[in-house]
């Protein structure tokens, strides 16, 4: 028990200590030319209320990896564009919920991992308004990387959120799914066996019928 208290204490002390380094540390780790090139991107992001911390992290990641400054600048500019796009998707999906920084970053990650933009906005639009979607977007990316069609993965997550399944259980789905994948189950079967609660049959929605030039007759049977 004492060790747990000690670990918690160290955690509380250590992280604020690092956070306290703030922008001074950021500036000191960049050469002046790179900093000057990045400053407009970061200022623009701050003015636009984008997750600035994610951009600073990308910069420091590049520095740590000894990436040439032009590539760092390009990567940060690209990430800013992705975050802006992701936020646009979330805002277009619902106007009454302001996306948090974490959700914007997670949505951008999901898009980068192969989740189509339509599924990202659909998840925001259909998920309960009060649900934080950091875990949901991340798991969506996990499932798509495992071969689950994006639409089905999104529908499953929507149903789990609607059923009130805790984010902790949703986040455990990919690892449970791996058990099935390791023994050769198709992705959808592996996903089905990994779900903490039953969901509706995993079938992609039928595509809308093609518009017909003549709509004078009765609607076709479904």
């Amino acid at each position: 028990m004492r060790s747990l208290w000690l670990a918690a204490l160290i955690g509380q002390l250590a992280v604020p200590g690092l956070a306290g380094q703030g922008n001074a540390s950021f500036d000191q780790r960049l050469d002046p030319a790179t900093l000057a090139a990045l400053r407009p991107i970061l200022d623009s992001a701050r003015a636009d209320s984008l997750p600035e911390q994610a951009l600073e992290d990308k910069t420091l990641e590049g520095v740590a990896k000894h990436v040439p400054p032009p590539r760092i600048i390009a990567a940060v500019r690209q990430l800013a564009a992705e975050l802006r796009d992701a936020r646009g998707l979330l805002r277009s999906a619902t106007s009454d919920v302001a996306p948090g920084d974490g959700e914007i970053v997670a949505a951008a990650d999901a898009h980068r991992r192969g989740v189509p933009a339509t599924e990202i906005s659909a998840l925001r639009a259909h998920a309960p308004r009060t649900a934080g979607l950091v875990v949901a977007f991340t798991v969506l990316g996990d499932l798509v990387q495992r071969g689950v069609p994006a639409a089905e993965a999104r529908i499953v997550i929507e149903q789990l959120l609607a059923a009130g399944v805790p984010s902790r259980q949703i986040a455990e789905i990919p690892s449970h799914m791996d058990v099935g994948l390791r023994v050769g189950a198709p992705p959808l079967d592996a996903l089905r066996s990994a779900l903490p609660v039953p969901v509706r049959p995993l079938k992609p929605p039928s595509p809308p019928p093609a518009p017909k030039p003549d709509r004078t007759g009765p609607d076709p049977q479904p």
């Binding site: 747990l4 670990a7 918690a8 160290i10 955690g11 509380q12 250590a14 992280v15 604020p16 690092l18 956070a19 380094q21 540390s25 992290d57 990308k58 420091l60 990641e61 590049g62 520095v63 740590a64 990896k65 990436v67 590539r71 760092i72 990567a75 690209q78 990430l79 920084d101 974490g102 997670a106 990650d109 980068r112 991992r113 934080g132 950091v134 875990v135 991340t138 990316g141 996990d142 990387q145 495992r146 984010s167 902790r168 986040a171 455990e172 990919p174 690892s175 791996d178 058990v179 099935g180 994948l181 390791r182 023994v183 050769g184 189950a185 198709p186 079967d189 592996a190 089905r192 066996s193």
Partner: protein, 367 residues
Amino acid sequence: MRTRATVVALAVAASLSAPARLPAQRWQVDLAGNSVGYDTAGRIASASIAPLIEWNQRIVSATLSGAVASFESNQWTSQGHGDISFLFAPISSATSFRIEVIGSADGSAHSSGYRTAGTRGELRLHWTGQSAGLWMGGSAATGWTTANSGIASALGPTAGVWARAGGWTGTAIWGPFRLAGQWYPQVEGRVAASVGPVDLLGSVGWRSASSSSGISSTSWGGGTATVWLTSRAAVVVGAGDYPSDLLQALPKGQYVSVAIRLARNRPTEPGKPMIGRTLYAPERSQSELRFTIPGASRVDVVGDWTHWQPVPLVRTADGRWSLVLSLAPGVHRFNLVVDGARWIAPDEVGSVDDGFGGKISLIVIPE
């Protein structure tokens, strides 16, 4: 954002035990010096080169390997082997059960003109648990040599059991077969382990033969130690004996071998997951990530919570690398740096393109 100290126990590699398949190719080449003693031809020293290519996908894996050995008086021998395995989960709701279909073919040629060839097929029903599994099935094999006019064939049941504990994997196989009207009961045991930079493999076996077959009962055993000097180079030392091949009429032999192995990478442990998953640290009292990184003498974590400065991981008694976490809610990114130079996104963890031509791993702490 308020920081919460979360300490969570996640044993990434240890909890995954079923034999896994990584969707990646692997190759290796062994350059060896050997001394082989045959019951029929005395002891022979040879130099050999033995390439191997392995291809793994989710339900299919295949291996092609070969060896060419040169020995005294300009004599040589060559061998080739290929196998392919398919895995199916027959019941989608019970993925612990799988059907395995395994086929292999091999052959050999000698400078004297002697040739052999053989095939083998096996069908198994395999149950895999978290740390143990068992299978049963049947096999059929054929063999041909230039010394015999016909093709010999053998049939028999197979069964086996395996278990993993603390990085050690033990396997016992029962595989009697019927050849030319005679039954040959056969059992074999194998133990494999990775201890730091060393991969160990040992095996023993026993095959019985009735007196009417004219063939002696036999036992065999041997061991191999592969010491990885880097992630791509190793010294392989092996010794032991192997049984005669009744289908291809190859004699029993005793061997001592020392090889330099050049490889694309060290073989992955069988317990590793096939796809990285995003790590998730629920709110519990302790958070520990453990990674298996063969051949590493130092591993650092570099992530957003370290402000992209290296923080060393601690090596555990089982040879893995441990990191205790205390993270704020949100999505966090990190890489591991092996021996101060090689940046990796560990296989166990989900990753995204880092924008710099590599990958970066993700970990999620919920709000």
